[in-house]
């Protein structure tokens, strides 16, 4: 590119950020100001302008000053609505990004806060992936816009280019600004649909057979020989016979020690999706698990926090 062209682009970049922001991302929060708000008449606005022109010419031709005066009034109100449209966006800040969790292939819920000070902003609209969202922003109380983004791959998903716009108050002018936030949201890897468990079940004859323990499994009728302390006295009082609490010990679940290197002959993506499935299963079945990756180790633990750490690490595998 010749230097002159570069200079022009640089100048445009500096002066008209919202037109060229498609090439450059910016961090949230984004404050809308006059250099990045653009206004054009809508199709209806153009049509109405033609109508006003017809009325103007008619009034002039028939020397009808009353009609001319009201035409001028309508025209001035229309022109004023352009400024109101600008004022609706001027000083609005877009920030407060929150995202839910989603595995690749699912839609991820994202919420953005639109805030404004000083005055109420009627009818701010945001065009994002799945359509148009409209909010009213009152000063001091940010309004959240929630939308869902489709996901394909694990890892950081950058927000798409969005357009914030309004045609308030009369729908004759549309003021808009492009938003291209720098803040990505995280998408977890997609677990493989089917596959082996991490470890073959060990040949334990007792496996699956309930053992007496502390946890209540069921209530049943009394059979002679049941220990007296297992009778549910309070419940039995409401029935015709004695009821006995059946107690059993849950089968202890062994901890899973998940290891990147335990799988042979698989490529990285397959390993990631298998590990993701295992982590999912471990969490769902209430096991404790540890995860060893080539560049990190998550010690044996359970719970949501551990799950998110592991999934994040998997999602961000190169």
């Amino acid at each position: 590119m010749p230097p002159a062209g570069e200079r022009i682009v640089a100048w445009a970049e500096r002066k008209l950020p919202s037109l060229t922001r498609m090439r450059q991302r910016e961090p949230l929060p984004i404050l809308l100001h006059r250099r990045r708000i653009y206004i054009v008449p809508t199709a209806f606005g153009l049509g109405f302008a033609v109508l006003l022109a017809v009325m103007l010419i008619g009034a002039l031709n028939y020397a009808n000053n009353a009609a001319l005066m009201l035409t001028c009034l309508l025209g001035a109100a229309t022109a004023g609505s352009m400024l109101v449209a600008f004022r609706t966006l001027n000083g609005v800040s877009v920030g407060g990004l929150r995202a839910g969790t989603a595995r690749a292939g699912e839609a991820i819920r994202v919420s953005l806060d639109i805030a404004a000070s000083q005055r109420e902003r009627m009818a701010i609209r945001l065009d994002v992936a799945d359509g148009e969202h409209a909010v009213v922003v009152t000063p001091g109380a940010p309004s959240a816009i929630e939308f869902a983004l489709p996901t394909d791959f694990r890892g950081w998903l950058s927000l798409p280019r969005m357009r914030i716009h309004t045609s308030w108050p009369l729908g004759m002018f549309r003021a808009w600004s492009w938003l291209n936030p720098d803040n990505p949201v995280l998408v977890y890897p997609r677990p493989e649909p089917l596959g082996p468990t991490p470890f073959e079940p060990e040949g334990d004859a007792d496996r699956g057979r309930p053992r007496a323990g502390d946890e209540l499994a069921a209530l049943r009728d009394y059979r002679p020989g049941d220990p007296r302390r297992q009778i549910a006295w309070k419940l039995s009082a409401r029935h015709h016979g004695l009821l006995v609490k059946d107690l059993e010990q849950p089968a202890p679940k062994e901890d899973w020690r998940l290891d990147w290197d335990s799988m042979h002959g698989l490529d990285d993506e397959s390993r990631i999706s298998r590990l993701a499935r295992w982590v999912d299963e471990a969490k769902d079945s209430g096991r404790r698990w540890s995860l060893r990756l080539p560049d990190g180790y998550f010690d044996i633990a359970q719970g949501d926090e551990h799950y998110h750490r592991c999934m994040t690490a998997l999602a961000l595998r190169p």
């Binding site: 006059r34 209806f44 049509g47 109405f48 109508l51 017809v54 009325m55 103007l56 010419i57 008619g58 009034a59 002039l60 031709n61 028939y62 020397a63 009808n64 000053n65 009353a66 009609a67 001319l68 005066m69 009201l70 035409t71 001028c72 009034l73 309508l74 025209g75 001035a76 109100a77 022109a79 004023g80 609505s81 400024l83 109101v84 600008f86 004022r87 001027n90 000083g91 000070s117 000083q118 009627m122 009818a123 409209a134 909010v135 009213v136 045609s167 308030w168 108050p169 009369l170 729908g171 004759m172």
Partner: protein, 666 residues
């Protein structure tokens, strides 16, 4: 008149449906279109359209959807048929607007989506404006302007995110404010939009005659005019106004009589104006309401024709074009005059012409006078006046209808009537007695508006009198109505009729009502002069105080563009202005920051106050003490309380003011 087609194509499916509130407002807009057009639409059409509108509103607010095309299409056809059947055509001001209003209401049947509502609302604006083609007085304009409020509110409600059921005024009031805010720009544009001196295409034809004087007069047909209280013209005098009894404004003279009606002589416009001897006494300016005729009423006896008009042989004036808007002209009059001291034979023949077989008894009466007084024409005229005065004649605006022979029937049977009857019969009698005479119609009297110092002449002041030609004296005015009821000449038609029928004063004589009417008429007068009368000619002369003798279209366009740009710039300043965040303490702090920045200590992004003050004190050793105190004050005011206490705030402000900083050269 524009015409538009109802779109039979469906809006796209994803186009959002119209919420109830915008729909209500749209219905309100249509209702106001109906109201502003109600005066000239046939009443049954207005009523039917109102019913259709109300039914549609009801239907949709109970969950109904758009009417199917087999309802819409026949309705449109019916509307078309009805308009053509009633008016005979679809073109022209009245049928056009009737059809347009009908289409607008029918458009509501299919208005389900935002786009429909926008289109309907835009054309409703057009419909509202077109009502001003019929009447552009202050009241009509105001009502149409009010009609714009729901129209704009509709657009606003469409844009709302959640058009919840707020009270209706919450939707209408902001629009009123919006429109008021637009007034300065609108007024400026109104004054400077270059007017057309000649229309681009034809002016609208008057489909309906305006009440007022006409160039024919038949006794008993003027009653409509005499009860019409709307202003006909307003007269401002230079100097003293004339006495009520000499406020005669002539419009037509009627020489031809066919037994029923009087009409002007066929050659009145072709002959030279008759000779007048006399000196001007009154100079006045008349602002004439539209008459859709060319004749200009002038005060008796006009000395010369106004600018754009010419005098006819009977000293009435016709303008060069039809008076379709308020028209202003100046003229002067004399009350002491001799008109046409010689009468040529043709004129004399015309002024003596009488139809055969009409009024045999009147002829006998006139012949008896002629026998009695011989050649003393003045005495004969006086005898006739005396007969009207003493012969049991009664002044009333609702006389008994006259039979076949209008003259004899009136003179010898009914003996009641108003100016037309008296002047017509008087003129007849004079001619029968061999005296040249003619009927003059115009206005007499008027109402003196003290507030505005002008004479308001209403249509009700229309009057007819006679002129009799006397040897050596010329045409002399005789007012037989004045002989019957002198109040008519000194008070006015309605007052004369009221006292004649015996009712006293009545509700309409309250002083405050007169006062209110005065004021209202002054406002109307102002509106007519300042707004409706602001034409190309006055616009040209508008800039004379600024040294521009004739403002050309180019000048006006430049002023318009520059002025609008300035006003828009002011509005833009308002739009760009953003109040800075924070309270009074923040404002003081910003001031301090600016001061210190001038001295070379600029607060960095994210730099805390304590650190900033310390850095400033290091850079400006001379102000160390002051800055340390400021720092204390700031931290104290900001962090020790929820709100900065007033005393420490005022001290902080004072110290910021007093702080002297000089740039330190390092």
């Amino acid at each position: 008149m524009t015409r538009f087609r109802l779109s039979l194509t469906r809006a796209p499916v994803d186009e959002p449906l119209l919420a109830p509130r915008p729909f209500d407002l749209l219905c309100l807009t249509m209702a106001s279109v109906l109201v502003v057009h109600a005066l000239h639409l046939p009443w049954w059409l207005t009523l039917t359209l109102a019913v259709v509108l109300a039914a549609r509103w009801r239907q949709r607010s109970t969950g109904g959807r758009q009417a199917p095309f087999w309802i819409k299409l026949p309705l449109i056809g019916l509307l078309l048929a009805v308009v053509i059947a009633y008016y005979g055509t679809l073109f022209g001001r009245e049928p056009g607007s009737a059809f347009a209003v009908g289409l607008l209401v029918l458009k509501m049947l299919e208005s389900e989506h935002r786009r429909d509502a926008r289109v309907a609302m835009a054309f409703a604006c057009f419909g509202l404006m077109s009502a001003l083609l019929f009447d552009q007085n202050l009241m009509a304009t105001f009502i149409v302007a009010l009609g714009l409020v729901p129209a704009v509110a509709t657009l606003r409600a469409i844009e709302k995110v959640d058009p919840a059921a707020l009270p209706l005024r919450r939707d209408l009031l902001p629009v009123l404010i919006t429109l008021l805010a637009a007034v300065p720009l609108a007024a400026f544009a109104f004054v400077f939009v270059p007017r057309l001196s000649t229309p681009l295409w034809g002016a609208p034809t008057a489909d309906k005659s305006v009440t007022g004087l006409s160039d024919r007069m038949a006794p008993g047909e003027m009653a409509e005019v005499l009860t019409d209280d709307t202003p006909a013209m307003r007269v401002t005098f230079e100097g003293e106004p004339p006495m009520n009894a000499s406020r005669y404004f002539r419009a037509y003279t009627m020489t031809n009589f066919d037994g029923e009606s009087w009409s002007p002589s066929y050659d009145v416009g072709t002959r030279q104006p008759s000779l007048l001897e006399g000196t001007p006494r009154f100079t006045y300016e008349i602002s004439l309401e539209p008459t859709r005729q060319r004749v200009l009423p002038l005060m008796d006896m006009p000395v010369a024709a106004p600018g754009d008009a010419r005098l006819r042989s009977d000293r009435t004036a016709v303008a060069d074009r039809r008076i379709d808007e308020v028209y202003r002209y100046q003229a002067s009059a004399t009350t002491d005059y001799r008109l046409d001291t010689t009468l040529d034979p043709r004129q004399r023949r015309q002024a003596l012409q009488l139809p055969n077989g009409i009024g045999p008894q009147a002829h006998e009466l006139a012949a008896s006078w002629a026998d009695h007084y011989g050649n003393d024409h003045l005495a004969i005229a006086r005898a006739a006046l005396a007969m009207f005065h003493d012969g049991g004649f009664r002044y009333t605006l609702a006389p008994a209808p006259l039979g076949r022979d209008r003259i004899d029937d009136f003179l010898f049977h009914t003996r009641e009537g108003y100016c037309e009857h008296f002047s017509s019969t008087f003129t007849f009698l004079m001619r029968a007695a061999g005296i040249p005479a003619r009927v003059v119609t115009g206005y007499q009297g008027g109402y003196w508006n003290k507030l505005g110092s002008y004479l308001l002449v209403r249509h009700a002041d229309a009057h007819a009198w006679s002129e009799v030609w006397l040897e050596g004296r010329g045409w002399v005015r005789f007012d037989p109505t004045g002989a019957v009821r002198p109040e008519r000449v000194s008070l006015g038609a309605a007052a004369a009729a009221a006292t004649g029928s015996g009712s006293e004063g009545g509700f309409f004589d309250f002083a405050w009502l007169h006062d209110a009417r005065d004021r209202w008429d002054v406002v109307n007068q102002w509106w007519n002069q300042a707004v409706n009368g602001f034409d190309a000619l006055r616009q040209e002369g508008m800039l004379q105080p600024f040294g521009i003798r004739r403002a050309e279209v180019g000048d006006l366009a430049i002023i318009l563009a520059v002025g609008c740009a300035l006003l828009v710039a002011v509005a833009l300043g308002w739009a760009m202005f953003q109040r800075r965040e924070g309270d009074a303490l923040d404002a003081c702090m910003r001031r301090l920051e600016r001061k210190l920045a001038r001295a070379g200590v600029t607060r960095r992004t994210g730099e805390g106050p304590r650190h900033f003050f310390a850095r400033a004190a290091r850079s400006l050793p001379a102000e160390r003490n002051g800055l340390e105190r400021l720092s204390q004050l700031y931290l104290w005011s900001r962090y020790a309380f929820d709100e900065p206490p007033p005393e420490s705030l005022s001290e902080f402000r004072q110290r910021v003011k007093e702080l002297k900083v000089r740039r330190v050269v390092k």
